[in-house]
Structures are given as C-alpha cells and as structure tokens.
Symmetry: C2
Subunit: 144 residues, 2 copies
Amino acid sequence: MSDDIRLNNQLCFPLYALSRQITGFYRPLLEQLGVTYPQYLVMMVLWEMESTSVKQLGQMLWLDSGTLTPLLKRMEASGLIARERSLEDERSVIVSITDKGRLLEREAEKIPTHIKCRLKMSDYEIITLRDHLKKILETTLESE
Amino acid sequence: MSDDIRLNNQLCFPLYALSRQITGFYRPLLEQLGVTYPQYLVMMVLWEMESTSVKQLGQMLWLDSGTLTPLLKRMEASGLIARERSLEDERSVIVSITDKGRLLEREAEKIPTHIKCRLKMSDYEIITLRDHLKKILETTLESE
DNA sequence: CCAATTTTAATTGTGCACAATTATTTTACA
DNA sequence: TGTAAAATAATTGTGCACAATTAAAATTGG
C-alpha cells in the first residue's frame, strides 16, 4: 500500500493548515478594524481600484456570488462599501469604496508588519514562497 | 505608502487561494466516496490509527470541538465511524473506524495519484514544498 | 475527603465556501 | 425584429471554521 494516503505525506494538508493558521494571525488585528479576512481582501482590492464589479471581484479573489453577495451586503451594512447596479449593464453590480472604507486603510497600515513578525520568516523567504505559490496557482488554473 | 498592503504582494492570499484550489481538486473525487475534504482528513487518521479521541483528532488536524463534533456526527450518520464515551475518562469521546470506513480506504487509493496529476508538479517539488510548509507551521506554532 | 481548578466535549451563533438553481438583462443571429 | 443563448447576481441549502459559553467529569491541594 502506497504511503501517499498518509496524512503527513500530503501537500494539501499543511497548505490547508497553514492557510488557517495565518488567517488566524490576521483575525485579532482585523477584528479591531471590524472586518474578517475575506472582507479585508475586498478592501485591499478597493484601496487599489476604488470601484469594481462583483464579477471582477470574484475573478480576482476566486470567489463566486454565493460567497460574495452576502459578504458584500455585510460590508455595505458596516458602511465600508456601496453596492449599486451598473447603469450601462443592469446585470452587473458595482462595488465601490466609501469614505469610511478609505479611512480604514490608515488603520490597516501596520498589519503587514505585524504578520511578517509572526511568520518568523525572512523577506526573501516570504517573497520566494509567495511567488512559488502564485506560480502553482497559475499553472493549475490553466488545466481547468 | 508601503506596497505590503497590496493584494498581490501578500503571502497569505496565494496560500488561501491555493488551499481552496487544491481542496477543489479533491471535491469531485471525494464526492464519489461520499465524504468532504475535512472528513477525508479524519478518515486518513483512522486508517492509520483505528481509533482516537476527539481531543487527539483536534490536535492532529488543528480543529476544535465546535468544528469536529458536528462533522463527526455526520460521519457517524453515514456509517464511517463510531463515537462513544471513554470508559476510563467519561469526559473523553472515542472515535473509531467501522468496517464501512475501512472499506473506503480501497476506494481512496487512487486519489493521491489523481491529485498529483492535477498539480503538474514533480515529486521533488511536491515534497520540498510540503516540508517547507510543515516547517513554517511548526515554527509559527511555537510562538503561540 | 471536599472544594476549587482543570480538562474535555457539546452547544450557540456568526461568517465564510461552494454547488445548484433562479431571475434578470444583454447579446447574437436567423 | 424577435427569439434563443449567454452573462451576471441573487438565492437556497449544506458543511465547514471558530469564538464564546456551558456542562460534566477528573484532578489537585488543603
């Protein structure tokens, strides 16, 4: 019998565990800002882009409307974003940042440093691993 | 303003995305066995150990009783495991594999090969990355 | 021995993920 | 132009994750 079936020999398990572990590092920091990790991802997009569509957001974060719609409604309720149907295409919903959302960027500034500190990895190691993971993502996406 | 706040410069995002991507590769394969990915993790433990406690399971998978209790109840309902209070320590719940659970191992045998195929990575690359992630997990755990 | 503390699961409540379906709008094209 | 097909969100339903609380059993210290 192959050892491939053993928990400790799998790639996916440490990936899954580390992903949860690191989002756990974010949690207390993000809690102070009143957002969750997936909501923080949306904010990062909007801090760069000011506004985007649900579809684009889904493509960037690889999340579907089943996840995004309720998440964005919660963010709208907390005043960080606005949602409105596009005038050019009524199927599309435009998500845009509010003043409150823009202000949050200042408060979030120190988060990356805090996380880096928890990771106990050199900048080089972080960048190398990040780019490796991104490369695997791109490669596996092609085959879908 | 630091670029650390940009989505594409973060380590956690590709980690989070790749973890979901790969569990997505497992989904159709595991669906045929009637289990989810977290349930498959439990089965992998039981294929090795035959029986264990909820506490031990939680330590191995880094999941708490809030996640495990309902998950194990669903697995009990589908006949893969049994749950019973320990006689020595009534606080503890023993989770053990059933005949049906043991039979599932045969059906799961080809899964690792399928996943490897989807990953498009060499054995060396998989092992190296897996061990790297495990090392980061251990290191970050120490600091909790 | 007994009360205080600790350990272990279960429960409760919130928020993702994601498959499948539905509803609406837009596009293509005969 | 009018209708079939495609695109876009929303909805519905299931199953994790995880914090916080509760309940019961075991351990410890006096």
